[in-house]
């Protein structure tokens, strides 16, 4: 055990009420980035973080990002950047988090007031932003404070990057990171992001991979305006018929992607990789609980985790322009836009995926002999990310988990994407680690979002311990 940890841990326990009060104060600020009328609250939340960091002696800047594109009457909230410590003999760790939250209204189905931190008898702390991402962000501040109070030397130099637009697409952040990677962030030796979740509820995990996402639109148009199906049904080519026929050729009910060549791009499973899955703390019951049903495709957890993490998937999201309301309407929609996306994995390059998608859809469309016009376009893409879990950044986190929780962490990937992860990796050229604080049942983005007290307090210890082990790790990258 690193010698400094015992007094630090004790101080975290002693300060736990104060740390919870800090979270309560943060949750009380409804910093909803998607709601124009709450923009002042987002600024207020940024200022709250800045003042907490300044009070602890950090160098803090609230960096403006300018007007919000498309909503020029609104200023983007600032990126709060900070440096705590400037010792050239220590490693420098850059941590990222966000201080904005998803919208929340009591009447959406919350059992408690969403912007009042409410702790139940099982020490579950309910409140919007508790787990996503105010708890983890405050965790870093708690770590600094506990070191000061315990009189323990801080083991690294800490750089902070806390943004206020994550729930609205991290508007403006990518350029900012690229620019600052050569300036304010230039000393960073590694990056740590705490903005995701454990796979279950009992065992922490380290996350080293994310799937990418290529999002496509198929636009089919024919008539000059919507038509009455009584008058024109049978005498005109219907865009919706063409679209559903194409949709049906993309993926089958077992989740198999039917686009020729696409699966050939996927990196094969190595023997080493296949050994990872059986030990992971996850079960088909966990899957069924989170699905709210037993409509799983694969019979085992191993196949399920591989489907989620390391194989691509194709989902059909919906149709724009067709009849979508309750009830019955006898319309032939004139122009329909079908939306689908492909979750990508190594080694699927976006351009190659798009080439295969377009080639296939256009060749299938030609077979329809329809006079309607059909186009395929890429709406957006985000690359997959896989890190090196043998890097000292991960080794340090691994030791910290064992120290705080007494278990070996699960080494996980995620099915979804956190685009900023790849941005940090590419901009800084350094290893990036995802080190979650919350658990799988925290309901981020949903009603009754919560963070367990255990996850918050032990999580604060974890973040601190991680920094200590970082300081001790030999160079290997």
């Amino acid at each position: 055990m690193a010698p400094q940890l015992e007094p630090f841990f004790k101080q975290v326990d002693d300060s736990s009420d104060a740390f919870i009060d800090r979270l309560r104060a943060a949750v009380a600020i409804p910093s909803i980035s998607a709601a124009d009328e709450h923009r002042p609250d987002v600024f207020k939340m940024g200022a709250f973080l800045a003042s907490e960091l300044e009070r602890l002696g950090a160098e803090v800047h609230q960096r403006p990002l300018g007007k919000q594109p498309g909503k020029e009457h609104l200023e983007l909230p600032p990126v709060v950047i900070a440096r705590y410590g400037n010792d050239p003999n220590k490693r420098t760790i850059l941590v990222y988090g966000h201080y904005d939250v998803q919208p929340a209204l009591k009447e959406d189905g919350w059992a408690t007031e969403p912007f009042e931190l409410t702790i139940d008898e099982k020490d579950r702390m309910y409140g919007r932003g508790s787990t996503d991402d105010k708890g983890p962000v405050l965790g870093w501040i708690n770590v600094i404070e506990a070191h000061q109070k315990a009189g323990v030397e801080f083991p690294v130099n800490l750089l902070c990057c806390f943004e206020g637009m994550e729930e609205y697409g991290s508007e403006g952040l990518e350029d900012f990171i690229y620019a600052e990677s050569k300036k304010f962030f230039k000393d960073a030796d590694a990056v740590c992001i705490s903005d995701n979740y454990w796979l279950g509820t009992e065992k922490p995990c380290l996350t080293y991979g994310l799937r990418g996402c290529n999002y496509y639109a198929i636009t089919v148009s024919g008539p000059g305006q919507d038509l009455h199906s009584g008058v024109f049904g049978g005498s005109a080519h219907e865009p919706m018929t063409d679209l559903v026929t194409i949709f049906s050729k993309l993926v089958d009910s077992q989740g198999n992607i039917l686009i020729p060549g696409l699966m050939d791009l996927v990196a094969p499973v190595t023997e080493e990789e296949s050994k990872l899955y059986p030990t992971i703390s996850y079960s088909m019951d966990n899957l069924h609980e989170s699905l709210g049903s037993e409509t799983s495709i694969h019979p085992t957890k191993e196949r399920t985790l591989m489907a989620r993490w390391r194989y691509p998937s194709l989902s059909i999201h919906g149709v724009e322009g067709a009849f979508s309301a309750p009830g019955a309407k006898t319309v032939i929609p004139a122009k329909v836009i079908g939306k689908f996306s492909i979750r990508t994995v190594p080694n699927m390059e976006s351009e190659e995926v798009t080439r295969l998608v377009k080639e296939y859809i256009l060749s299938e469309a030609a077979k329809l002999n329809s006079k309607n016009k059909l186009d395929v376009s890429l709406m957006h893409d985000g690359k997959w990310w896989v890190s090196s879990p043998k890097h000292w950044n991960f080794s340090a986190a691994n030791k910290a988990v064992k120290q705080v929780f007494g278990v070996e962490p699960d080494m996980t990937r995620e099915g979804g994407s956190i685009p900023i992860t790849l941005t940090f990796e590419q901009a800084t050229g350094k290893n990036v680690l995802l080190l979650p604080m919350g658990s799988s049942t925290d309901a981020a983005h949903s009603v009754n979002e919560k963070l367990d007290k255990r996850n918050y307090i032990q999580g604060t210890k974890l973040l601190g311990a991680y920094l200590h082990y970082v300081a001790e790790e030999p160079l290997n990258a």
Copy 2:
């Protein structure tokens, strides 16, 4: 020529300004049945018709239909029923029309104020309700007035049934017609409905058939709530995938219905019927103009008209529960409801159609091997209708068209449904004729609805002449 027509025709011409003023007064009342706040205007319009008919000496009743189901704070507008003439030696004709209109706002794209009748240099009379259906309804009143002013004896007893909820599903009317068919309407010898349109712009038509409509919903559900496609894509059966696969098996891009056995129900084309199509005043250019594109399936007008009138069609209308907004959302919808309908023709019985539809969809669904739940349900059905065009009711209308317009009318069917037609036929047991006043370019339900002055004035002559020929027709039914 029937001796009474000359003075009647002359009187219609002499009264044309007054008749247009009558239409102007009616259009000025925004009797929008779908808008709660306009309900008083619907009542006002009913009272206007009642007072016009009373002034001409008719026996008039405004019959209440009670509260509006589902909106019990609203009274349904009355059915205005009237009797003009009670001579047992004359035939009795029951005419139907409606005095409510579709919504209309100038900002929807109207070139003129929708509730101010505006006549342009080509004598097109623009205004909401001008052609649908205030013009035709006032046509009957004009006929009575012109007879009185010209001193011509009215050739028949006239029964009127004018409703105020047609644009909102004719709420309450069906029961009313069944009840009154044994009372107020019991003397009716035939029924005439003027609430549809010529096939083109130059030649009147008599309409003797309508397609029916069976509307279905396919509900596919699996997960307990919408899922994130990053997290669950590839590991859970997706309802949308199942739905589009089923959709793709219903109809192909050439409009061929793929449900086994369905086409076997369709009455074969007789040699006599096939001779009807070539003479009809319609062209592929007419179709392309109304489509706003050249995305027609069939190469000839004959095939097109048969597809519209006498063959079934299947249209996919849309999906409820999927992502339907602009932009990109990476959701796996938990429950989707796909809507489609089949336009039915002789001899497709609704029950048999539904049996074939369900049997086929459920057998195709079983092939998917999906754990999702799939249901098919009939949302509503309306039967097709084909009348006897050799009945004296049609012969009289045929002679009237030749008299007024100098041409043989097109004998047409329609692809859409007018459910009240079948109700009148079944409730009264009498022949029903559809005798349109407006032309194909009148834009009923759309912006810039209009009725040409020629169609209104010559149409009034047509309705009057029809009644005279009705009086002279020998019994044949």
